[in-house]
Structure formats: C-alpha cells, structure tokens
Amino acid sequence: MAKYSPNTQVDFVVVGSGVSGGIMAKELSGAGFHVVVLEQGDYLREKDFRYDQIQRTSHSSLVAEDPNLATFRQTDKDKAVLSAAFRTGRCVGGGTVHYSGSSWRHHESDFHERSIWGPIAGTGFDDWPVTYAELEPYYTKVEWEIGYSGLGGASPFESPRSKPYPLPPMPNKSSGVLMERAAQKLGYHAVPVPVAMLSQAYRGRSACNHCGFCSGFGCHNGAKSSSLSAIIPGLEKSSHCELRPNAYVREISTDSSGKVTGAVYFDVNKKEVFQKAKAVIVCCNGVGSPRLLLMSKSSRFPDGLANSNGVVGKYFIPGCGASAHGVFEHELNEYKSVTTTRAIEDFYSADPKRGFFGGGRLDARGNTLPTAFALGGLPPGTPTWGSEYKKALQNDFNRTMTVQGFLTCLPLESNNITLDPDVKDAWGLPAIRVTYKDHPDDMKNKAFFRERALELVQAAGAIKSWADPVREERAAGHTMGGCRMGNDPKTSVVDKFHRAHDVPNLYVVDGSSFVTSARNHPTCTISALAFRAADNIIKASKNGSIKAPAA
C-alpha cells in the first residue's frame, strides 16, 4: 500500500471504503492516479468476525453505533427523535460487509420509468440520465470482478445481458423450493436470487460454507463479495492507493474559486487532519453523502457544498417493504446458508390496472437466527412466555418461511436528509435528520404486495400463515437518493457521470445518486455506476480534462 502525507496533494480523496468507494479507488489507482481512501470505521479482517448473535442484535462493530448519529421525523412539522434505524456501515468495506448479498441488476425499465408511466403529481418521479444499455457492460464487470453467483436468463423479466454470471447460483434452500412450488401453482416464475457470494472458489477466494451468518455479520471465509473481501485486498497491493481507516471526514474544503481542495477528517484520536487533493469523491451512500455535503458550508457555499439549487438531501428513498410468513409441516432449517435463494419478478412492473403506481420483487427467506426468531418470529397471538411459548418456539424455529417484498418507493422532495439543529454525534457533528413519509401510492402498493406475499405462502402449503400489517417506513436498510443525478443542474446534484453540477472537481458516487428506487436491492447498480464513473474519469483524463499525475 502507498503512504501519503496529508500535505501531499494526491489526485483523489475517496470518502468511504464501501463498494462504490472501493471500486473508485481500485479503478483510479489502477489507472495511475494517486488515491487516499478515508474510512470512518475500523479495519476489521475476516478473523475478527464471529458467529455472535449478541454482536448483531445489540452491539455491532460493523455499523455506526453512536446513539446520537441519526434522528427521524415524518414531516417537517414534527420534532425529530433519536433513531437507531438509519445505521450505516462503519468499517472498512462499508455496508457490503454486513449485507445479505442479494444483488440484482435493475431492469431496463427502471431507468426510464417516468417515460413509461408518466408523471406522478407531487413527486420527483423521473427518468435517470443513464440507460440500462449504457450500464450493461458495467453490470457485467461487477458480476465478474466482484464475484457473483446467479443464473442469467433464468428470469423471463430480466433485461438483456452480455455475459452469464461467473458462478452458478447458490444451492436452493427449502424456502426457495417452497417458493418454486407456490410459483408453479399460481403461474409465476421462481428464479434464483443472484448473490454477491461465491458458490464456488473464485479468483483465490474460498467458496461459501453455508454457515448462515450473512445478514448482519462479516463473512468469516471471505466468500461474501463485500468491498472488504473482493476489492480492498487489491488496494493493499497497490502502490498508488492508501487506505486510511478511522478517518471520519467532517468537511470537504474549497478555495475562493469554489473548487475542492481536500477533506478535513478526525483521526483515531479525534485530532483534525486536512488531506490535500486535486479532487474529492464522496462515497458515503444515501444518508452519509448528503450529510457531508451539507456539513461542508463556506461563505461561497452557505447552504452546503454542491447545493446551490437546494436539492442536496432531497428525494431520499429508504425503500418500501411488505411481508407474510408461514409455518410448514417439515423442517426448512432456514438458518443455514444464504438469506434467500428464490424470488419472483412477476409483479415487478407497475400496472395501471392496479390503480396506483408501484411494483416489486418478492423473495422467500427464513428468519434466520435463534435469538432474533425467538424474540420476533412467532405467529401473532402466540403466548410470549411460558410452556406454550416454548412449545411454539421448539416447533416453529425450523419450520417458518417469510416471503419478503422489495417495493418501489417514490422520490418526494419532502423526504429528505438534513442536519439536526439540536443533536450532535460523538464527534460533535450534527446528527443526520431523516424526514420521511410514504407517498399514498407506496402505501397502496404495500397492501397489494402484502396480499401477494400471503398468497404465495399459502400456495406453498403453509399450515399456518399470516401477513405483517402494512406499515409506514421508519427505517432504511437501503439508503437511496439524496444527491440525485440528472442532466438539469437546477433539479439534480450530480451529472450523469456523478460530477457535481456546482463543483468541477467533486464527485458523489453511491446510492445517493439514484433517481428512483427501482425495486430496492441497490448494491449491484451502485457498483456498476461506480465502475462507469471511474471509467469516465479515466477517459476524460486522457482527453486532458483531468490531468493524470506524472509517471
């Protein structure tokens, strides 16, 4: 790994080492640029990860634990209250270290859904400034370079692909088999879930051993294709990249001409350090990136960096969900292997006949771990303690399946990330204030998918089945929007190649660029956008618009 002094003006500072930061650093350093990656969290290795349910439910070193990091309110008339529901990845590798690995491409239609459906009053529903065809080569690059397992062409709804997945899909679990059974009965198509996991050994990394500790955990043997396992080892070997963990960026600095000059961060001792750079790439995802831009105020940028139009933080999309559960006669043993192996895309597209905008994907999964299941997985009405509770737990733990919907979530101007005026985090920085309330169509869509999920569980042959109530979202596993991309500098934060409209040497590359939600599962698209953004910077530098350093 390279080593740079903060006073050395490197070509790029990349803020964040998740999948987009990792890819940007890999591609740019590989092209000869000098890159410093600033990661707010610790550098944990595979040996540090434990099969520890307590670490997941109570105390995780993988996510931001600070209770004062985020606040939540539904509208700007409400007082925001502390919320632990917007925790983001905070370790080298970011959120991909602890995510479940489900990694779908968007469909062609996701990029121009406004043109297909038409405008939706009161929303920022819009086409993306990039098409599926433009992104397709980068999707392929993601699947092959990061290491995905799946079955291209299995879904009749999938958009065209130029190459199959490099690895076959994961072995089907019982929940997946039951999904196949239900789909066959109802005339739908159950297809393998593509995952950023290795079904076989790949490029020097081990195959998955199906331990089952995926979602919420770091992978012990590196089979999860996180930024940590798939990208960071390459950065370690690079002579053009330095990865600096425990570097919590509080501001991107600018000069009097309005150009970025570097980033100020707190080091592990909470001492401020300024790293000089020719350009800065922000990769902190849907809540972190808008927050950092908003914190980077100056006399020239009084409302935050790249925010002359006031769009930074707006159109935040946490993703919507709906779910149903069933108890079956025999054991599924869902605690083994990856979270989910089969899904249906038969209701992916929005359909005017339903009377509202919305679509989604449904997958079959288990409520994997013992403690989480025992505290929240039993059917409603089950006694919560005593002999009857214990009997239900004994019977249902291995016999329960969930059908989970990943649904559209309309982008609204009033759903946004702002800086909390009162709450400060452990570093004294303003907390992330999330304001979010579902659009009425999102609520109708959840009710529709709740019924579809229940129907699938019942068609699969559940002895007992129930659906979760339709809920307003108050949490986010997938943080999208907030620094949306677009061709019009008046209505978007970054251009189609993720360069800030306002600042020529500032880029924002992550889920915050998303214009719409698609059907959630943002990681594959975030990764493809990052490869594309890096490619463009490299190409542009050859045209002389960004100077590469002297060799």
Binding site: N209, H210, W385
Partner: protein, 161 residues
C-alpha cells in the same frame, strides 16, 4: 472473554437476587418435558449482560426486583419472596407485571440467554439450541432442509444469454 456463567457465581446479583431472577426466568421458559431457562443458565447470562454489554439496564433490574417483591406482598400478604411462591402464584404475579419494563427486559434476556452462544454464560450444554434444532456447526452442506429434495432447479433455463 471474562469467566462467567459459572453456577453459583454472580457479579451483579446477590445470591438472593439471583434466586428470584432465576425463578422468573423459569416461568418464562419453564422446565417441562424439555429443559428450560434453569438448565440453560439464563440467569448467569443476565448477570453477565448487566455487568458488560447491557450495563444501562442495571437500574431496570434494581428497581424491578423491588417492585417484584412489592407485588408478591400485595397479592400474597405474608409472602415476601417470589421464589417461595407456588408456580400458579408465580404466574399470577408475572401476569400482573407483564407490561413493565422490568418484565420486558427479563423476558428478552431470558430468551436470549437460552439461545445465545454458550460462551456468554447461557445456553449451557446447548440445551436451547438442541430444543429448537439449531445445530450450531456454522458450516453446512446441502440439502439443508426437508423440502430441498423437491427442488425444480433442473427445470430452470440453462443460463444461456
């Protein structure tokens, strides 16, 4: 990891308090045809949690133990210890405090202590995992479950592009 979960040794609870808490845990997950919280040692897990990662719940327990005693005396004049009541009486007391932060905390801790990794002091001899059928091997090969045998994977398209 500090040595904990050793029968008879408590860091947070006094011996008397531990007997009371253990009796509550034994109503939450009773010992019947199968082992319960007592065999799993949930009380040792709780003791440890309250002195390590769940320190901020100490006051809930301190206050809760006092309230428990008060409730016992109120419902059964002359009695002072929850652990000395009959099982039916204990259930009556717990139903009366079911919605308190104390009971909510003990319930969550008892269940977690029943199913936690044994090094945390609970789930002794893996009685919790054995009850629910969690193998705890952290390394498996397919088939994973009963229905795997019905898989229609062979009928899928071959993945041609």
């Amino acid at each position: 990891m500090a040595a904990s979960g050793q029968p008879g040794k408590y860091t947070f609870f006094s011996a008397d308090q531990a007997v009371e808490i253990e009796s509550v845990t034994a109503q939450i997950l009773p010992t019947d045809e199968t082992p319960g919280a007592r065999e799993a040692g949930s009380v040792y897990f709780i003791d440890r949690a309250l002195t390590t990662f769940d320190k901020d719940r100490q006051s809930v327990y301190k206050q809760g133990l006092l309230s428990l005693q008060a409730k016992v005396s109120q419902l059964f004049p002359g009695a002072s210890k929850f652990s000395a009541l009959t099982s039916a009486q204990q259930i009556q007391v717990l139903k009366a405090i079911e919605n308190t932060p104390f009971f909510t905390a003990v319930r969550a801790h008892t269940i977690t202590g029943f199913l936690v990794n044994p090094e945390y002091g609970g789930n002794q001899n893996k009685v919790g995992w054995n009850l629910i059928g969690f193998e705890g091997k952290f390394n498996y090969q397919p088939p994973f479950g009963y229905y795997d045998r019905e898989s229609k994977s062979a009928a899928l398209p071959t993945g041609k592009v």
